[in-house]
Symmetry: D2
Subunit: 358 residues, 4 copies
């Protein structure tokens, strides 16, 4: 009962990795938006499997079909239903886990919670579900384009290899390489590392940084739905995420207030801050400065090695990865992070609309 996200721009996703289709229903999209289907496909292509040597080799075109909510190319204010059929299921790859729990996967917890699970490809717990989020996020991005808001995520760390701070990068270069790091030298190192990990039949973690620019002042709702709280939840709901920080984040622990506080000044009639430890958010509300945050991803749980485990009956068992999997999830996570950020922002924009005087 939590397959929906958002309060006013609400998405409901459905679908399993190896079922007939996955998809999303978007409720609350304002009427009159020209729906650029090519853009939605571009976003899906950034996430789809099989796009490079460092991603899973499962082949899915991830072409989508819009079943409702659009008339003569524009949204009508009624729900948009978007469906993506599954094509390249090789469910037989998964028969070995019908009875056995893969370490650090959701097999055991789904079985314990529901008493039944679709084990094929991880079923509902598969990151395939995120394609539906990317499709919905693309619609959200189209709305944000009207305001000039930009959301740009990139891979900022793989294993121990780190990119420089975002202010030292050209974020328009993220798509120039397969690992999606805008620093070409660091990108090469990351690619080499992932490739080595893949050859080792292993996996590795990584970090995605997201930068949102040109945000209106005033997004975020005290006290529980603070902008960063909602961004945090949205990011933590993505498969394999272990942590979230914004602005100074965990480094802020070490600082003193006198060093951490962002002094105000006025520039061109606009209130601004000289530093931005706040990450563009104060009191849970955007202040117009850049919003930036980090999302930590663990190494993918499926490795091509034997691991000790147990089966449904509590007996010892050995599991080895089969199927087709990513050695490192972050390159494909970049559009997912952006999509979730877009959904959060649009929802808060609509909530701000709602709070206008009547």
């Amino acid at each position: 009962m939590s397959n929906s996200y958002g309060t006013l721009f609400k998405i409901s996703t459905f679908g399993e990795s190896h079922g007939p289709a996955i998809g999303v229903v978007i409720d609350g999209c304002p009427a009159g938006l020209t729906l650029d289907e090519a853009f939605i496909q571009t976003e899906l292509d950034r996430r789809k499997p099989g796009q490079s040597k460092i991603t899973t080799q499962r082949k899915e075109d991830d072409t989508f079909k819009i079943l409702s909510g659009v008339f003569e190319g524009k949204t009508t204010g009624t729900p948009l239903a978007i469906v993506i059929e599954n094509q390249d299921q090789r469910s037989k790859d998964y028969s070995h886990i019908a009875e056995t729990f893969r370490p650090s996967h959701a097999d055991y917890t789904y079985e314990a919670k529901y008493g039944i699970r679709d084990y094929r490809g991880g079923g509902r717990s598969s990151a395939r579900e995120t394609a539906a989020r990317v499709a919905a996020g693309a619609v959200a991005k189209l709305l944000l384009q009207r305001l000039g808001v930009t959301i740009q995520a990139y891979v900022s760390q793989v294993g121990d290899i780190k990119a420089p701070h975002y202010t030292q990068l050209d974020l328009n270069k993220t798509e120039d390489n397969i690992v999606r790091c805008p620093d070409p030298v660091v990108a090469d190192q990351m690619i080499a590392l992932i490739d080595q990990v893949r050859l080792d039949r292993d996996t590795i973690g990584g970090l995605v940084t997201c930068v949102i620019q040109n945000t209106p002042v005033g997004l975020g709702e005290p006290v529980f739905d603070k902008l960063h709280a909602e961004l945090g939840k949205a990011m933590l709901s993505i498969n394999a995420v272990k942590g979230f920080e914004y602005g100074s984040g965990f480094d802020g622990i070490r600082l003193r207030g006198s060093a951490h506080n962002d002094e105000f000044y006025t520039e061109g009639g606009r209130v601004r801050t000289r530093t931005n430890h706040s990450g563009g958010i104060q009191g849970g509300i955007s202040n117009g400065e850049d919003i930036y945050f980090n999302v930590a991803f663990k190494p993918v749980a499926t490795i091509m090695q034997d691991q000790a485990s147990v089966d449904k009956h509590g007996h010892e068992a050995t599991v080895s990865g089969k199927g087709r999997h990513d050695p490192c999830v972050v390159p494909r996570a970049v559009p997912i992070v952006e999509a979730m950020a877009a959904l959060v922002l649009v929802d808060f924009l609509l909530r701000n609309n709602a709070a206008r005087s009547i």
Copy 2:
């Protein structure tokens, strides 16, 4: 429009720092719970101001009154309304910020969002609001006691001073000192640091670690309301929080899957994991192992020093901290973190109830 938290055990808080009262309405508390009022007061006392030399000297008893939902000492299934009157408001301390924005506070963003703000003591953006959360969290803890679930938070870092990993600590010693760190030697160092910072008229950040033990398997709702996503949102909604991580957290970035995966085994008929990088959560659902997570707090924004800022009219201004404030927020944040964790768990327990077959 987000002063409520929870789906089935829903709390709605209200109140400003210097208004007549703050409070909370709890909707969804099961009937028949013996309401231990002394326990609620104990929890409020752990959070209240003025409890030691390293906290703000504002004096508030934080005594509460229950207006509804209890009959002959037991909950009736109807809403519990709990009110805490404000006593020691010194609103004149705040007249200097009626027109001026304190750096890294919510003054500017509230003004921009609402066009009006109660500047006295920070109004709604004051951490005083968290007293209402602690009261509600105490009720949630009473429910969790029935299952033997324990939630224990403590201060694990202040500035650069860190406590050992939780598995090397006796968490029952947290309340033995005023900084709420269960390691007495580290605690003394932390207290000394905070005291120095206070004398420097400055503030400092810190880290709270929370450990939840004896959790039932199966808490958390795929796909958006994953247990850690909801914990993350709950923690990030607390004033001054900048980051959240659970299990291996940000350190998980560096690990390979072969090192990070938690192998399963069976112990006494129960499925367990040999390591716990998962932090007790797999696929967003609790697996019965310890849940542990870290919450990063920035240094308190109010410092007793002059800072550059601007006023409502965009003119340059100087702000200096007045009023009574904490030099470091984490000692008082410990019960708040526990309260929010309790609210998250109870909500998921009720959601599990709901999903039972009919």
Copy 3:
């Protein structure tokens, strides 16, 4: 878990008939509204007990206190908490029903559902809860005043005595008599009937009609939250209500489409309908014509006569009304109906705001 109403202008009520207080938290009230407290009191006075010979003689001033959300006389966008203390509880009047179920009351169903009930004055099931709704509805009315929307309810039937159709009445005369029927002759008949019923130690049902004028076009949300569906739910949630109809209502069953359809024409550049069987709502959305609906109230269940019943142990028992009760509920229901209608309209206005393009 349903003590809240509304999606964007959300109210949460609390309190029992004989507990310390009842009240309401309003979340989502736009900032900057001048809060006319005298008006709120006037509305509460219209609902309060003891106001005339045909209402219960319980004495409650129903004076309220605002605990939060207002600063210098204006709303701040944060939650408004309004509390009304209970004064004239005579709980001993109710000891006879601690163990026995009053016929057609909620005693049995509360006991069965919760396993515990506050029997004093009906506890949470008492219509006293509606005072909190009236207070919240008064705030909603203040918002509607800005748009010139008027909501006017009146008593249109008591027993078999009926008032003429609303178009033949001067709705400004409703408050001219104690039964709140704008036709003075009919009002006298109604008062005489209620008085007779009271002397007979009995009670009688009635009908409230509500007329909303000057509504903007476009309120109501397809497909589930149609304007009339939400009005219907709001009205049916009021104690003792048995039915709801709008526009042609149940009489529409008999009509043919050719007679029932409301033809469009243009008047002063505005699209209007020549007839109004639609009751101002088409496809669940307001069309700008008068919205009108009827709300049927059963006779109050508490009568001053012996009735057969059973006790908690299933034994036969006799119950006779004690306490102080209304012989007919509709005169006091008028402001409650208006309050709920105001809450529905404001919520839809905010939802329309939200759907504006961004």
Copy 4:
């Protein structure tokens, strides 16, 4: 933003009359339910167009496809997505209303609210959307079957022709005739009337009565989500509904309390009432007696006659019904009423589950 219904068994419908498909996502269906697809089809067949001479002649098989949430024939606790493709769209039948508003339809209000509308077949405002509800309701019915709860609706009035009270009918005979009235004599009269109306190129209103038997005690949530309030909203959200009443309903206005009250007695250890003016609901909570209610439907707005209207530009226009429409909606409304009732009941059953102690 209200295309979802339910709190714990939540359905989200999508689709337009002449778009590619309509459908529904069900979130919150408990795991382990054997999904009887033949039963779902049977329910859809009861609602589908073209089933008899007194219904519209549009031909839709209304065959459905389940895209997710089922594994090896059982529900898995993840969302069920059900899609029904549209087949027999004759959109050219509707070009005449692209610019003109049909009287008493939603054309004008949709245009005014959204600034754009899919006019083909009424777009989203078409009753075709209710097929998605019937599919979801069928799943809800499968859950209710486990408890032995039965929901039986039937046509109780067409124009002035009325069936006897439900207690005098054999509700198992409802499907024996095309008008769905269990009294064969009255049914014949109804059919003759509808046929005459159809020949007159007109339409007529009707009444559906619904009876729910074997309901557990305790369904319904004080104070806003009373069982009858939620049933009322659910019914009023169905196209063409103008009124709702339960138990004594509008007739209760005339009664005195002494006649209206339902005295309690004990039968076989169970608390029962001798009469049932309460309609099985007291204080908003089911008491175990039969729940019965009436739903009033207006005559279908589309008639095969010229009617005066206006176009988008405010000019006078004449509209005549084209397309294929029902002369009377109630025979096909019977399964829709049942479906919505089933959804309401299942939701409350899950909410009762949730409120169990933990």
